[in-house]
Symmetry: C2
Subunit: 298 residues, 2 copies
DNA sequence: TATATAATTTCGCAAAACGCGAAATAAGGT
DNA sequence: ACCTTATTTCGCGTTTTGCGAAATTATATA
C-alpha cells in the first residue's frame, strides 16, 4: 500500500487550503512532518502529487486523482468508525448469555424483554446450559454473561448474587398445611402433588428425595410448566412445589397459600457471573447492569 | 482514525482464514505482530472485533461490521494505487511544456501530434514564452520541458540540442541571388521582400538590422505565417527569410532556391531543457524522449 | 537595492510505533 | 500425562514519525 489514512487526510487538507503550512496548523502537526510525509509519498508513488508554487502548493493531475480517492476512502473510514463507536458504547452489539434451565423458565424471559425495550439494537444470544458449564464458559470467554445456580463453585470469575429464591409449597386455601409457616419435605408427602413432567431436573430431584426417604411422591396430575402447576393447585388438584418468585405475584389473587419449604436444598439462589466486569464489551456491560438493577425479591 | 490500511488488510485475512497465525503466515509478518495489532485496535475501538476460540478466531458482531467496511476501503485504496501507477509509469499525466513562438510556429505542432498518437492519455499543457523566461521557469520547476532558442544562457538546467536550424533566403528560380551559395544580409536589401506581420519577433529583428545598416527592408507584401511567406515567394513577389526546416520540404517541388544567410544571428538552434532529467515525471520523461528521438535535420 | 515576509525543505535528535523471536499460556486430542 | 495448535506477552532492535531550528527560495516592501 502506498499511502495511509493519515497522509490522505493531510493531503485533503493541503489541497483544500492550498498550503502545507496551513494544513499542518489545522491538523496540529509540524510543517516539517507534513512536508516529509508528502515527499515520502511521492517517492513511493513514483510521481509528484503537488506542484510547489510560489505561495503554496497545488495538486498535480496525479494529485487530483489521489484527492478524489482520498475523499472516498476517508468518508468510508469515518463511517466505519462511527458505526463501530456504537459497539464501543454498548448501543449495538451482541451479548452471549448462558443460563441454566430454571433461570430460563423462571424469570429470564421477562428480563430479556425489558432489556430489549431499552436497547433494541443489542442482540442477546441465549444458550441453555448446566450451571457448571456456564461457569466454565464464562471463564473461557465463550460466554459474556451467565446466570447460574448459586450452589455451584464459581472461582475465577466475578459473580454477583442475583435472585435469592427459595422453593415453597403452594397450597389451595383450605388445605391442611395452608396455615403453617413452614414445612419439611416429608410433611407434604402425605398429600397428592401436582408434578412437572420428567424433563425437569427439579422434579427428578423431588422424586429422588422422596425415594431416599422410603416414600413416593404421589402425583394427581403432571403438567409442563411452572404456570401449569400453579393453575392446577388453584383447581385444588394437589400441592405444588415452586420457586417463590414464580407464584408470589399471583398468590393473593389466586387465594393460594405459599408455605416455606425448610430444607437445605430449597435455597435456590441464582448468581450472575462475568469473567471481568471491567473488560466487558459495552453491550455486555449494559446487560449486566440491567440484570443487577432488576434483581427480584427473594 | 482508529485503524490503518495494513490492519484492515490483516483483519480481512484473519477472518478469511479464521486464524491469526494463518493470516500472519500468508501476509509474511510475525504472529506476535498481528496479535498485537489487533489487541491495540480493540483498545482503540473500545470493543472486541474477534472472539478467541479454541482453534482460532472468529469475528464479533463489531468485527463483522469492520470486515464489511474493510473490504470497501481496501478495494478503493487498491483502485487508487492502480490508477496512480499509470502516472508513475508515464502512461497518464500532464507535461507542462513551454516553447518560444518560433518553435511553436515552426515544428512543435507536428511533434505534439505524433506524441499524442503514442500517448493519448498524457496531456500536454503548452505555454508560449520568451526563451529566457522558459529557462527560468524550468529551473523553478514551473515547467517540465522547455524548447527555447539556443542563444540564451541555460545554466543550472539540463539542456539538449534539438533542432539546429538556420535562417535562409528563399528566392524564386530566376532571381539574381538564386544561384549563389550564400549571401549576407545587406546583399539582399536591394530587393523587395515578403515580410511577416509586426507581431513576429523574427521580423522585428530584421527591420532593426536593416535600420542599423542605414537601410530599410523594402516589403512587397506582408503575410502572417511562414507558409504564407513561402507561397508569396513562389508567386515571385519578393525574397523571403525563413528557417531552413520550414522550406526545405517544399523547395524542390516549388522550384525555390534556398540560399544560406551568412550571419551570426542566422543560426537558429533550439534546445530542449529540463531541470533534472532523472527527476522527471513519467509523462515528462516520455515527452522528452519523444522530442529527442524526433530531432529534425538542421 | 536591501530587507522583510511567507512559503517549503533539510537536518539532527528524541519519542513512538512496529516487527521479530522466544517464552508463556491455554485447550484439546492422543 | 504428553503433544499439538493457537494466542498472548515480553524484551530488544529497527524503522517511522514528529518536532524545532536552520537553510532555501521567491515575492513584496521600504
Amino acid at each position: 500500500m502506498d499511502f495511509d489514512l493519515i497522509t490522505l487526510r493531510l493531503f485533503e487538507a493541503v489541497v483544500r487550503l492550498g498550503s502545507i503550512s496551513a494544513a499542518a496548523e489545522e491538523q496540529n502537526i509540524a510543517v516539517s512532518a507534513v512536508s516529509r510525509r508528502f515527499s515520502d509519498l511521492e517517492h513511493r508513488l513514483g510521481t509528484a502529487v503537488l506542484y510547489r508554487k510560489v505561495r503554496g502548493v497545488a495538486p498535480t493531475p496525479a494529485g487530483e486523482v489521489l484527492l478524489r480517492h482520498a475523499g472516498n476512502i476517508l468518508r468510508l473510514a469515518e463511517r466505519a468508525s462511527a458505526e463501530l463507536a456504537d459497539y464501543a458504547e454498548g448501543d449495538r452489539g451482541q451479548v452471549r448469555v448462558a443460563a441454566n434451565p430454571s433461570a430460563i423458565a423462571e424469570f429470564l424471559p421477562a428480563v430479556f424483554a425489558s432489556f430489549r425495550d431499552k436497547h433494541p439494537a443489542v442482540k442477546l444470544a441465549l444458550a441453555e446450559q448446566m450451571s457448571d458449564d456456564i461457569v466454565h464458559d464464562i471463564a473461557d470467554g465463550q460466554v459474556d454473561v451467565g446466570i447460574f445456580s448459586a450452589v455451584v463453585r464459581h472461582d475465577g470469575i466475578e459473580a454477583f448474587p442475583f435472585v435469592a429464591d427459595r422453593l415453597c409449597v403452594i397450597a389451595p386455601a383450605g388445605h391442611p398445611i395452608a396455615a403453617r409457616d413452614g414445612v419439611r419435605f416429608v410433611d407434604i408427602l402425605d398429600y397428592p402433588h401436582v408434578g412437572l413432567e420428567d424433563g425437569s431436573s427439579l422434579f427428578r430431584q423431588f422424586a429422588k428425595l422422596a425415594e431416599d426417604a422410603g416414600r413416593v411422591l404421589e402425583l394427581a396430575v403432571r403438567v409442563r410448566s411452572f404456570d401449569g402447576v400453579r393453575r392446577m393447585v388453584v383447581m385444588n388438584l394437589g400441592l405444588g412445589i415452586l420457586p417463590r418468585a414464580v407464584v408470589e405475584p399471583y398468590a393473593v389473587s389466586d387465594g393460594l397459600a405459599v408455605v416455606e419449604l425448610r430444607e437445605d436444598w430449597s435455597e435456590r439462589g441464582f448468581m450472575v457471573g462475568v469473567r471481568e466486569r471491567a473488560a466487558l464489551s459495552g453491550a455486555a456491560a449494559r446487560f449486566l447492569e440491567h440484570l443487577l438493577s432488576s434483581k427480584m425479591a427473594g
